[in-house]
Symmetry: D2
Subunit: 394 residues, 4 copies
Amino acid sequence: MKKLKMGMVGGGSGALIGAVHRRAALMDGEIEFAAGALSSTKEKALASGRDLGLPEERNYASWEEMLESELGLPEQQRIDFVSVVTPNHLHFPVAHAFAEAGFNVVLDKPMVHTSEQAQRLVEEVEKTSVVFAVTYNYSGYPMVKQARHMVQKGELGEIRKVIVEYNQGWLATKLEDSGAKQAEWRTDPARSGIAGAVGDIGSHAENLVSTITGLEISEICADLTTFVEGRRLDDDANLLIHYTNGAKGVLIASQVSAGEENDLHIRVYGTEGGLEWRQEEPNHLISKPMGAPAQVLKRGNDYLCEEAKRASRLPPGHPEAFIEAFANVYMSVGAAIRARQEQAEPDELLRNFPCVYDGARGVHFIEKTVESSRSTQKWLDARWRAAGRHRQTL
Amino acid sequence: MKKLKMGMVGGGSGALIGAVHRRAALMDGEIEFAAGALSSTKEKALASGRDLGLPEERNYASWEEMLESELGLPEQQRIDFVSVVTPNHLHFPVAHAFAEAGFNVVLDKPMVHTSEQAQRLVEEVEKTSVVFAVTYNYSGYPMVKQARHMVQKGELGEIRKVIVEYNQGWLATKLEDSGAKQAEWRTDPARSGIAGAVGDIGSHAENLVSTITGLEISEICADLTTFVEGRRLDDDANLLIHYTNGAKGVLIASQVSAGEENDLHIRVYGTEGGLEWRQEEPNHLISKPMGAPAQVLKRGNDYLCEEAKRASRLPPGHPEAFIEAFANVYMSVGAAIRARQEQAEPDELLRNFPCVYDGARGVHFIEKTVESSRSTQKWLDARWRAAGRHRQTL
Amino acid sequence: MKKLKMGMVGGGSGALIGAVHRRAALMDGEIEFAAGALSSTKEKALASGRDLGLPEERNYASWEEMLESELGLPEQQRIDFVSVVTPNHLHFPVAHAFAEAGFNVVLDKPMVHTSEQAQRLVEEVEKTSVVFAVTYNYSGYPMVKQARHMVQKGELGEIRKVIVEYNQGWLATKLEDSGAKQAEWRTDPARSGIAGAVGDIGSHAENLVSTITGLEISEICADLTTFVEGRRLDDDANLLIHYTNGAKGVLIASQVSAGEENDLHIRVYGTEGGLEWRQEEPNHLISKPMGAPAQVLKRGNDYLCEEAKRASRLPPGHPEAFIEAFANVYMSVGAAIRARQEQAEPDELLRNFPCVYDGARGVHFIEKTVESSRSTQKWLDARWRAAGRHRQTL
Amino acid sequence: MKKLKMGMVGGGSGALIGAVHRRAALMDGEIEFAAGALSSTKEKALASGRDLGLPEERNYASWEEMLESELGLPEQQRIDFVSVVTPNHLHFPVAHAFAEAGFNVVLDKPMVHTSEQAQRLVEEVEKTSVVFAVTYNYSGYPMVKQARHMVQKGELGEIRKVIVEYNQGWLATKLEDSGAKQAEWRTDPARSGIAGAVGDIGSHAENLVSTITGLEISEICADLTTFVEGRRLDDDANLLIHYTNGAKGVLIASQVSAGEENDLHIRVYGTEGGLEWRQEEPNHLISKPMGAPAQVLKRGNDYLCEEAKRASRLPPGHPEAFIEAFANVYMSVGAAIRARQEQAEPDELLRNFPCVYDGARGVHFIEKTVESSRSTQKWLDARWRAAGRHRQTL
C-alpha cells in the first residue's frame, strides 16, 4: 500500500498538538509526513521542518507557499491531504484555501470562529467533494464506538438523559501570564474565538454526546463564568439542554476545576439502562442494564461490535489510549481519501469520522452557548439547521 | 448512663425507613425504643408495636393518643423525644403538636410541605427550645464531616464550583402501579408534596452542599421533568445554581437514571484544589490539591479531624456505612437532648446535626425549584431569608 | 418475638471487639444484652457492666460466677447464649465450661490454642448439641454468600486457583511497646497462641476460602516471618496451597504491609470464569465470566441469591458494611438457638454460620502453617481429618 | 536528526508483537523501518515486507541473507540495529550472529532458552560493546520509573515485602489446538523453551520487581502447574521468594486465570509505606505512606521525577499506554546507539533500559523456577551470579 502524503500547517517545534497529530497519523505506517509550513514565523517554520526531517524542497516558509508549490506539482506527487493544526483563527483561511484548491483537509477543532465561516466551508466541501475531517479525536476511542453501537441497537431503550462533563483544572490560575503558549492563545479572543472553555472543551463534550447518542439539541440554557480575574474568555460553563426527542441534558465544561486533569466523562440513561465512559480510563465502558448487574466492557474483546474491534490494535488488557484514538480518526480519513482517489467505497468499519458537518454544528453550539449565557431568557432555540446531508461519508 | 426513651410515629412493620431509624437510634446503646404509634391504621399500629416488642401500655393506636398519654405521665417517665417517620404529609401536624407540647423531635426530610408550615415549626422551636432534628442522614458520614472541616480550614481556597448529583433509577418504570408502597406515596402529591425527585433526593443534595461548604444559594435555574407517563410529580431535576459568594453550581437529581442505585456524589472545587465524595463508597474522601498528587483519605485514621474521628466506631479498613451515618445523627441528637435536660453544653464534637433551620431551608429550596422550573425567566432569586440563628446548637 | 438473652464474657470498657459484638447482636432487636462478666479483673468487670447498663444482679465479677449463677436460675430465665470475646487464651476454658453446662456459645476466632483443645470442644458440642458458633464474621457479608452460591451452582466451572490475601499494616512498627492493648496481647504467645498474623488474620483468610469454595486443603508450604525486631510471633505469612481437588492456592497474610488497613481480598478462578471480592468494598462482587464482560454484582438487588438477599437490610446503593455482616452471624445463631429451643428447623436461609468444625479446622490450619514454616520439606500434609459432620446446622 | 535505520527479523504479516515493535520504534520519528527478514518462510517474508513497504533491495528472504547483505554495505549505510521478534527458539542464533558482527540488537524476551546461551550472549556483548536491549517493555512505563525513583530515594524505607502478579486467562482452554499461532508456539517446548507461563509472563514479573526495587533473589520455592490437559508446558506458577536483603516475596503468574486479561500488578511494602501499580491502569501509581492518606500519582505531572517526565509525551489526563511504554524502550535504545556512534554520553534520563544482563538474569530465573518446582526441597538457591557489570549503560 502506497503511503498517503500528509502536509501540515502549524505544529512546529514545541507545539503539543502538532506532535500528537504526527504521531497519530504515522502510527499505522499508512501515512508519511511529506510537507509542512510549520509556523506562521518563517524562520521558525523552516527550523521546525528541518528538526523534523522534512525534505528541504517541501519544508515551506508559509502555508500560502505550500499551497502554491503543491499545486504546481503533478497531481500524483502532491500531498494527499493537509492537516491544519494552527491556533483557531487560522483554521478558516487555511482550510478554505486548501479545500477550494481540491485538497483533502484534516482540521483541528473548533472548526472556525463563526457560523458564517462554517457555512462557507460546508459549501466548499459540498462543491469540491474533498474529504474533510475535524479532529474531534475522542470519537476515535473504540469504547466510544461501542457505546454508539449499543445506543443504536436500542440496548438502552429510548434515551432520556445525558450528563456530559469535561473537567480540567489547568487554567485555575492565570497561566496565560506566565508565558505558557497554549494558555496564551486559548484565552485570547483574537486567536481562540468568542469562547474559552466552551470553545476548547465544551465543543468536545457536545460532539461526544452527538457521536454516541445521535441526539439533536433543541434548546439550551447556558451559564458561562470567567473565574480568573482579568481573563478575557469564559473558563467555566454549565448548561441545561433539551434534545429534540424529549431527552434532557446537562453539559459541564470547566478549566478551573482545580485538581482535575482531562476528565471528559459521559453518562447516558435510557428507558432500559445506562452507559458510562470516562476518557481517563478509556479502555472500559460501563453498561448498567436495569435490574441486572453492571457490566464492564473492555477494549479488545471479541464480544464488542465490529467497529470497536476494528479500532483496536492490541489484545485485551494491553491498554490503548489517547494517541491510538487520535490515530483512529486518521485511519478513517486515510480510508476515505483512498476511496475517493480510487472511486471506491471505503471500508464499512472505517466510515465514521467527524466531518465538516460536525465541525459546523460545533461552531453553532459555541455561538448559541455564548448567546444563551448573555440572555435573561431561560431557553434559547439552538437547533442546528444544516441543509443537506449530515455526515460526509454516508 | 440512663438510656433516652424514644417514641416513634410511623414506621410500622414493613416500613423501610422506620426500621432504619430504630437500628440507627439503638446502635450505640444510649437510646431505647420505649413507645410508638407505628401506623395511621389502628390495627396495624398495635400489631406492629407488638411485633417490635413495645410494652402494651405504650403501644399506641394513634399519635394523638401517644401525645396525650405521654403528657399525662410524670415528666421523668415521659419519652425523651419522638421520631416522626411517616409519609411527608403527616410531618407537620405531628411534629408541630409534639414540639408545642415540649417534646424533642426527630423528623424525617423533607421537613414539611410548605414554607409557611416550616416557618411555624421554626417559631415553635424557637419558643419552646426543644431539640429539633431533621434527618438529613448523609450529613452523619464521617468523611462528610472531614470534607466540611477541610473546606472550613481553607484547604480548598475560595470555593468556585460545586457539582452535586443524586442519581437513582428505581422509578424508571411506573413502579407506583405495582403496589410498591414507597413508590406510591412518593409519587402522590397529597402525601409527598409539590415535588417528586426534587423533594425526596434533591433536598438531600441541597443539604449536602450546605453541610460541606456552608455556601448559600442566591439564584437558581431549574428544569424538572416527568419522564414516566402518568406520573404526577417530577422524576428528574437539573439545576444551575448561583451562590452568594460567586460560586457556581450544578445540581442533578433523578429517579429515572436507570441502572443507578443511590448515587449521591459531590465535587467541590476551590482556588486551591478539589474534593470528591460518593455516598456509595462512603469511607473514602478524595482530595485533589492543585499541582500535587490526589489523596485518598480513609475513615478511621488518626490524620482526620476530631469530629470525623468521633463519628467513627471501627478501625480503618473495617468499613462503616449507611446505618452508622444515620446513627451519628441520633448520637448528636442524644447529646443535645441530654445537654438540654442537664442544662449543660453538649460535647463539642457532637454539636452539628441537621436542625429545624436546615429543614426550613430545604423546604424553601423545593418550592423555589418548582417555581423556577415553571418560569420562562432564567434566574430566580432563591435566597433563604431566615430570621435569627441558623443552627440550633450554636 | 421474645428477645434472646445474651451473656458476655470479656469485652469490657474500651475493648474494641466486645463493642462490635454487642452492636452486631443488638442490631436487629432480636437479642438483648442481659448479663456479663466483662473483664478478668473484678473491679473492671463490674464497672464496665454498670457503664453498659447491665442489671446489678447479672453484672458478674467473673465468668465462673456468671456460669454458676445462671445455672442456678430456672431454665426459662437463664441467658440463651454466651458470647466469649476474651483474648484467645481464655477461649477454651470459658467456652468448654459453658458448653458442658448446656449453654449455647458464640466464640471469637481463632477458636482455641491447640488442636487437642479443639477436639475436646468438638466432642463436647457433639455430646450436648448446644449451638456453637465461631465468629468468622466475614462469612456474614451478603456478597460472600452470593459468591458461595455462584461457586456451588457451578458458574465458575471447576475451581483451579484461589488467591486470598489479608494485608494489614498496623503492626509495621513495634506497637506492642506503646501501650496499645490489642497489639500487646496479639503479639504475646501466652495469650495469642503459637501464631501472630497467621492466627489473627490468616485464619480469616483460610475460612473465607472454605466458606466460598468449599475446597479442602491437602498440602501447604508456608513461609512465616517476624519483621519487627523483638516481636515474639510472626507478623507476615505467605503460603502455597494444594487443595484436594487439584486446585492451587496462594494465601498471603501480613500485619506489616505498611499503608494497608484491612485488605481481605479473594479471587477464585475456575474453568469458566473468575470471582473477586474485597472486604473494604463489601457491597460489590466482581464476576469475570470467560469471554464476556465482567459483571459487578451489587448488594440488595433482586438478581442475587436468596441467602444474600436475606442477609441484607437496606436497598441497593445504601451501603452496608462490617457491623451488618457481623450481625448476620448473630442472626443465624439466633435462628439456630430458637430452632433448638423449639425443636424446629431453622429458616433455610439462615442455616449457614461458622461453627465448631470451622473453628477446629482453623486451629489445625494455624498449627500446620507454623509446622510447615519450620520445615525444610516443601509440602506438608495439612488435611483436616474431622470425624463426623462438618457443619453444625446440616 | 538523522533517523536510525531499524532492521527486523520476524514480525511478518499477522504477527502481533512485530507490529507493536514497529509502532513503538517509529512513534517518535527518530527511527525508520529500513530492512527486514520478516518470516522464516521465504515467501511469507518477502510478501510481508512488500505489504509493509520495505524497499525491494532490503526486503530479505532470510535473516542470514540480511546479515550478509548489510555487512556488505558501507558502514554508514548499514542498518543501525536489528530488532529480533521471532519465536523464542530463534532468539539465540539470530541475536548472537548480529551481535558478533557488530550490530546493535533489540531482542524480545525471554532472551534465550538456556543460561549457557545467555552467558555466550553476555560475553559477546562485552566483547563487541554493541548496544543490546531486551524488551521487558513494562519497564518503559513512566509510573514504573517513578516507582523505582521513590524506592531508590528511600521513600518506602527498607523494603520488606513484594507481591507481584501477572494474571492472564487466554490459555484457560486448549487454545493451541484451535490454530491460534501464538498459543501454538507459546505452548511448544521446542519453540518456547522449558517454561510456559513462567517463561512468557513470569519473566516480566521478575523483571518488574528488579526494575522497581533493585532487590536480588536469594532463594525461591516454586509450584508450577499445567491445568489444561495435554498441554506440554506449565500454565500456572506460584512462587515464594527470599531476597538477599531479607525481604520476602510472592510471585504469581498464570495464563489460566479465566476472566483476567493482562493483569500485571505489583505491590511493594517497606518500613515507611507501600506502593502499588497495575499495568491495566498504567497512568496511576498509588503511594501508601504509613499514617497518612494514600496518594494517587498521575503521569505527566510536574511533581514526578525527571525520568518519569522524560518518558511522557502528553499532558496529564491524556492517557498514555502500552505502545508508548514500549516506545520508551526504543527511545532509550536509540539514545544509547547514537551515543555509541558518536562516542558520547547518552542523555542521563534515557540511560535505563533492560539489557543483556536483565535478559540473562531472566533466563536464570526461569531455569531455577522449573528446577524448584520439580524439587521436594523447600528452598532452592536462585542467586544470579553474573560476572562484571549488571547494567549495560552504567
